[in-house]
């Protein structure tokens, strides 16, 4: 990949961008699905090339310790999910839940969505970031409403309105940042460029930054799914096609959080502004606790795991809020692990709902008996997501809880309470899903479980052993996050 004559960033962005247009023209859904996977695979390869040869920072694009692994993660999960999606969509067409014309649209939007996420991650410019996040919102709205059922449209609508307002507020925050930076850095692009801002931000007056961060937090926080801004998330996850739920939870939430964290870095680097930590801690804890209790009354399996995503986003936000090298490390690790695990869970859920023909928790029983691979995959995924060893989330939760308790004992109590309450809810549902006398169809699953297994293996390995470079990136970013 070093041989590539152009900046790999352009390749990474161009591939999904072109694929989005290209796929809109492919009529055959079988071929489209393969091409979709191919494009995602190529994007993954291209993104891996970043590791060997990290490109220079340009005014528009930036590759640093923070986003390099997120880009790879995004490309990886979108690739594996595209593999799952291929067989999933196939089955949906077979049972005539989807019309082929929508599928064409779906694949195109899938790539467009990948493009916007990668753009958001790679952007060196606040404006580009904002535009990318908005694009991601629009593409996912379309995919969530794909089934055209009243519930799907309702969910898409809710998603759209709430995130639209969120996006608008985030833009206001972005404008405020520019306004704050302008006296120091003058007008024009540099005052909206991360790399430039990071160097000069300490000279910027903190007052406007505070105001800006409030808008950023509420704006992008809506997209992260922080309580009380979370309302769109469960429905959007539950009503769209399952591959989309997987990428929403696994990737989009990360991207939105990434945006918040970039701004937090600015706040940290400024040094005189209000500490953003307490705000993030409060919102994080609120999300964690709210989602934890919400889990108990869920009847829809996808909504259940969507709430679990809110819970984990809460934990991650809390981790970054409390800050310090250990908590930040834990937060970064948790982000990575959560996106791998949650997408694996959604894949398992997708397989299960396809074979059982229902999304209701009470109608799915004994999966480990009827479908051992799906069942045990779901078991492993849920055990991982609730933070049991030997999976990676245990590692991050261990670091987070111990360091929180040592530093802010009173905050650790709601944190642990939330984790334990959520644990109770998820295990309760897991037991009824995976064990007991099986119900429903015993026919083997049509779709591929390979991506799920791959994700789970990665999460398992990460729980036991973390590669050295990853640790170094995390530690470097943790320092920047303060």
């Amino acid at each position: 990949m070093i041989l590539l004559p152009v900046n790999p960033v352009y390749v990474i962005l161009a591939l999904p961008f072109l694929a989005a247009f290209g796929l809109a023209a492919v009529r055959d859904h079988w071929l489209a699905a393969r091409l979709n996977s191919l494009a995602a695979g190529l994007t993954l390869v291209a993104s891996l090339s970043l590791f060997t040869d990290r490109p220079e920072t340009t005014p528009l694009f930036l590759v640093d310790d923070f986003n390099i692994y997120l880009v790879a993660l995004t490309a990886f999960v979108s690739f594996t999910t595209s593999l799952f999606s291929a067989s999933y969509i196939e089955h949906e067409i077979e049972i005539e839940r989807l019309k082929p014309v929508f599928v064409r649209f779906y694949h195109s939007m899938y790539q467009a969505f990948v493009f916007t996420m990668l753009l958001a991650l790679l952007a060196n410019n606040l404006g580009v970031l904002w535009v990318a996040v908005e694009g991601a919102t629009l593409t996912t709205v379309l995919m969530v409403s794909l089934y055209r059922t009243p519930a799907a449209i309702e969910a898409a609508w809710k998603y759209f309105i709430l995130c639209g307002v969120g996006i608008a507020l985030a833009l206001f925050g972005t404008i405020l940042i520019f306004l704050a930076a302008r006296p120091v850095m003058g007008g024009g692009m540099p005052a909206m460029t991360w790399s430039a801002l990071m160097l000069e931000i300490h000279r910027v007056s903190p007052d406007l930054l505070n105001l800006a961060f409030v808008f950023i937090l509420i704006g992008y926080g809506t997209k992260v799914g922080l309580a009380p801004l979370h309302a769109w998330l469960p429905d959007a996850h539950a009503e769209g096609p399952t591959p989309i739920s997987a990428v929403l939870s696994g990737l989009l939430l990360n991207v939105a959080l990434y945006a918040v964290l970039r701004f937090k870095m600015l706040m940290t680097a400024n040094g005189q502004s209000l500490a953003p930590g307490p705000l993030m801690m409060v919102m994080g804890l609120a999300s964690l606790l709210l989602a934890a209790f919400m889990l108990y009354r869920r009847r829809d399996i996808k909504r259940l795991f969507a709430y679990s995503s809110i819970e984990h986003m809460g934990i991650i936000t809390f981790a970054f809020g409390i800050g310090g090298p250990i908590a930040n490390f834990a937060g970064l690790l948790h982000m990575t692990m959560h996106s791998l695990t949650k997408s694996a869970i959604f894949i398992a859920v997708g397989l299960a709902t396809q074979v059982k023909g229902t999304q209701r928790i009470s109608e799915i029983r004994g999966l480990t008996v009827s479908h051992p691979v799906i069942g045990w995959g779901l078991v492993a995924g849920v055990l991982a997501i609730v933070g049991l060893p030997p999976f990676g989330i245990f590692l991050s939760e261990f670091l987070l809880v111990t360091t929180t308790f040592a530093r802010e004992p009173l905050l650790a109590l709601p944190l642990v309470l939330g984790i334990v309450v959520a644990f109770g809810a998820l295990i309760l549902r897991l037991q009824s899903l995976a064990f007991g006398e099986p119900t429903g169809s015993m026919a083997p699953a049509a779709s591929s479980a390979f991506p799920m297994v791959l994700h789970l293996i990665l999460v398992l390995v990460a729980g036991i052993w973390l590669p050295e470079p990853l640790v170094e990136w995390f530690q470097a970013v943790a320092r920047l996050l303060g």
Binding site: W157, I161, L162, P228, Y296, L388, V420, Q431, I464
Partner: protein, 669 residues
């Protein structure tokens, strides 16, 4: 150390073999034989180490786990004694499982997890940093949860498994917080760093409280015991034996590692609290055990009792250590450690016997059993030894630990604090009560299950189990006897632990009597000799038998039972399990547990049978768990409304959040 690590590795390999069962027809044999060998080898290795009185420490660091800490493993005397218990139990369970687990309905659910479970327990014991410790700890819960779910098709099992895993993770959360305090803000989770980190009394006490909650919930201390009698019996019997006999010990190890090693100099009241909790646990546990009709549940509750006894020992040791009398601390510690070994032995016997009964009759309900001594004579003999040992009868091993514990209690007057002096008397009384009740409990267990006449057709047609299973029962039974007769053998293994945990061995201050007498100086020259007692009884019995058969009549005539002239043909007319427990229930339990007899006597002329039902309540459920469950449900109901709002209201929430934050900013400027 390297050897133990290799053993753990071998167990992991065996787990993969177990997972490959669908493709590998001999997986069952390989896993069980492999586990028996591996555990056996590990047990022998630590036994050799302990027998050599080796107080040294071996460490090993593996490049996994937390990146800046790595996985630190360490083997010292404390780890070694528990490794002995774990691997001995594991080895026996593997042997028993060889035959027993063939009858499993879904063997694929047990085979891969069984080695993982034992590996996790081993790993807890050799962990030398908080991360490895907690990861292994939680993994131990996780794997045993899967084992409990082996019979997942029963609703009861799933409920038990659920309660179990939630309690376990609650415990882990407490431990996590506890280690958070111990490690301090620096975040150095290595045990060496924690040892060096001196805590103020208040945070140290909080750490102790949290560890007590965490390890206590795993060990089954009252009132956190409710999961135990649900979960342990639900697993296959050899796993039940492991969970009851061994896993609870690992929890005890966790408690000890923190209280006697990591935290430094203890405060006296920690020990007092521990001992009181232990005493209450012992009594409550055994009373529950007495009321159970399900043999495995009975045994599980008896585990609660024995854990209580061990914790009493630990509490006393802690008190003595804090009060600066290490010799007495060593006495109490020896008692506790010996009981740890003992309990893993006789609980293995008893659970294996229960497994054998289950195999032979398919019944777990005492009221369906009876007369098995005729049809399963070997099982009956070994089980009798187990029952006598757990009832602390001389000259068996249970009594030795009990004796030392009483000797430690009797030294209470030496202490300064008057709370302790009186407290020790009360603890002694409770300990004595629990011992006596345990004897009653096991008379009931053994008498109803093995003696009398068969109460059901299945008990009537029972067959003795195969020699492999019998071997697994016989070995611990023999060990029970050997330790009981020659307790010094086992006690010499405990001496390094004493030096490590309380700073002095039990016989360091002298004492007399060689290997025959047990007379530590700290017991004021009081002495006991299992050997003499055993030999005397043996000789006297032989003498009596000889004399009587030589000089008196030796004629025997078989006849129908006399029964005061009332010979009831129906075996159901025998004393049943609940009628046996009735006097004790009336005296002890009625007020405490709200036990109620419900007798439904038909009016004269009606042909339906009279019914008797017993309603038992556990105050821990009523007062602790049900309110928590209700509270969570209530909150869940309340917040659930948030799922059903309109978009406008969600926007309002967002607006309010924004305005609140803006006001905050405005105010803070």
């Amino acid at each position: 150390m390297a050897f133990i690590s290799l053993c753990i590795l071998a167990m992991l390999v065996l787990a993969t073999v177990g997972a490959a069962r669908p493709w590998f027809s001999h997986a069952h044999e390989v896993v069980h034989a492999g586990m028996a060998l591996t555990c056996g080898a590990a047990a022998v290795a630590v036994l050799a180490r302990l027998a050599a009185n080796d107080s040294g420490v071996e460490t090993l660091t593996l490049p996994i786990g937390l990146p800046w800490l790595h996985a630190n493993l360490r083997l010292d005397a404390l780890s070694a004694i528990f490794l002995l218990a774990v691997n001995l139990g594991g080895c026996l369970a593997a042997v028993f499982g060889w035959s027993y687990a063939r009858h499993d309905a879904e063997p694929g659910r047990v085979l891969p997890v069984f080695p993982l479970f034992i590996a996790a327990m081993n790993l807890v014991l050799v962990a030398d940093d908080a991360f490895v410790f907690l990861a292994a700890w939680e993994f131990m819960s996780l794997s045993s949860w899967l084992l409990v779910l082996a019979t997942h098709r029963e609703d009861e099992t799933r409920r038990a498994a659920y309660v179990y895993l939630v309690m376990a993770s609650f415990g882990t959360a407490c431990l996590l917080l506890g280690f958070g305090i111990l490690a301090g803000a620096s975040g150095d989770y290595g045990f060496a760093a924690i040892r060096a980190h001196q805590l103020e009394p208040v945070p140290a006490s909080f750490a102790v409280l949290l560890v007590l909650l965490g390890a206590g919930s795993k060990a089954g201390l009252v009132p956190l015991h409710v999961w135990l009698p649900l979960a342990h019996p639900a697993a296959p019997s050899h796993i039940s034996a492991l969970m009851s006999g061994v896993m609870t010990k690992v929890a005890i190890y966790g408690l000890m590692r923190v209280l006697f090693d990591l935290i430094g100099q203890p405060l006296w009241w920690w020990g007092a609290v521990l001992a009181v909790i232990g005493a209450v646990t012992a009594v409550v546990g055994v009373l529950h055990a007495l009321m159970q009709d399900d043999i495995k549940k009975l045994l599980a509750y008896s585990t609660v009792e024995n854990i209580g006894v061990i914790v009493i020992g630990l509490g006393l040791a802690l008190v003595f250590k804090a009060s600066g009398v290490p010799a007495l601390a060593a006495l109490a510690m020896t008692a506790a450690m010996l009981h740890v070994l003992n309990h893993s032995l006789f609980k293995s016997i008893l659970f294996f016997s229960a497994g054998s009964i289950l195999t032979a009759t398919g019944e777990r309900d005492l009221n369906q059993l009876g007369g098995l001594i005729h049809r399963m004579p070997a099982t009956a003999l070994f089980c009798l030894i187990g029952a006598a040992a757990i009832s602390s009868l001389p000259p068996l091993n249970g009594f030795v630990a009990e004796w030392m514990l009483f000797q430690a209690v009797l030294n209470g007057p030496l202490l300064e604090q008057w709370e302790l002096k009186i407290g020790f008397a009360v603890i002694g009384a409770l300990l004595a009560l629990s011992t006596a009740l345990a004897a009653a409990c096991f008379v009931r267990f053994y008498g109803i299950a093995f003696l009398g006449r068969a109460r059901s057709a299945r008990a009537e047609q029972a067959r003795e189990v195969d020699p492999v299973m019998l071997t697994a029962i016989a070995v611990p039974a023999v060990l029970c006897l050997v330790i009981g007769v020659l307790p010094k053998l086992a006690i010499s293994l405990i001496e390094p632990v004493n030096r490590l945990s309380v700073g002095e061995g039990m016989f360091d201050a002298g004492g007399h009597g060689g290997w025959v007498w047990l007379a530590p100086a700290s017991a004021f020259g009081n002495s006991y000799s299992g050997f003499m007692m055993f030999m005397t009884i043996l000789i006297l019995t032989i003498l009596a038998v000889y004399m009587i058969h030589r000089y008196a009549s030796n004629r025997v005539r078989r006849s129908i039972p006399w029964g005061c002239g009332f010979t009831d043909p129906a075996p159901l007319g025998q004393y049943s399990a609940s009628s046996f427990a009735q006097p004790i229930r009336r005296v002890f339990v009625s007020q405490l547990f709200g036990a109620r007899d419900i007798v439904d006597m038909p009016a004269p002329g009606e042909t339906r049978p009279a019914r008797f039902e017993l309603e038992l309540r556990d105050p821990a459920w009523d007062w602790l768990f049900t309110p928590v469950v209700k509270l969570v449900g209530w909150i869940a109901d309340k917040v659930d409304h948030l799922q059903f709002l309109t978009i406008r209201r969600y926007l309002t929430l967002m607006f309010l959040a924004l305005v609140t934050l803006l006001v905050l900013v405005a105010v803070s400027q």
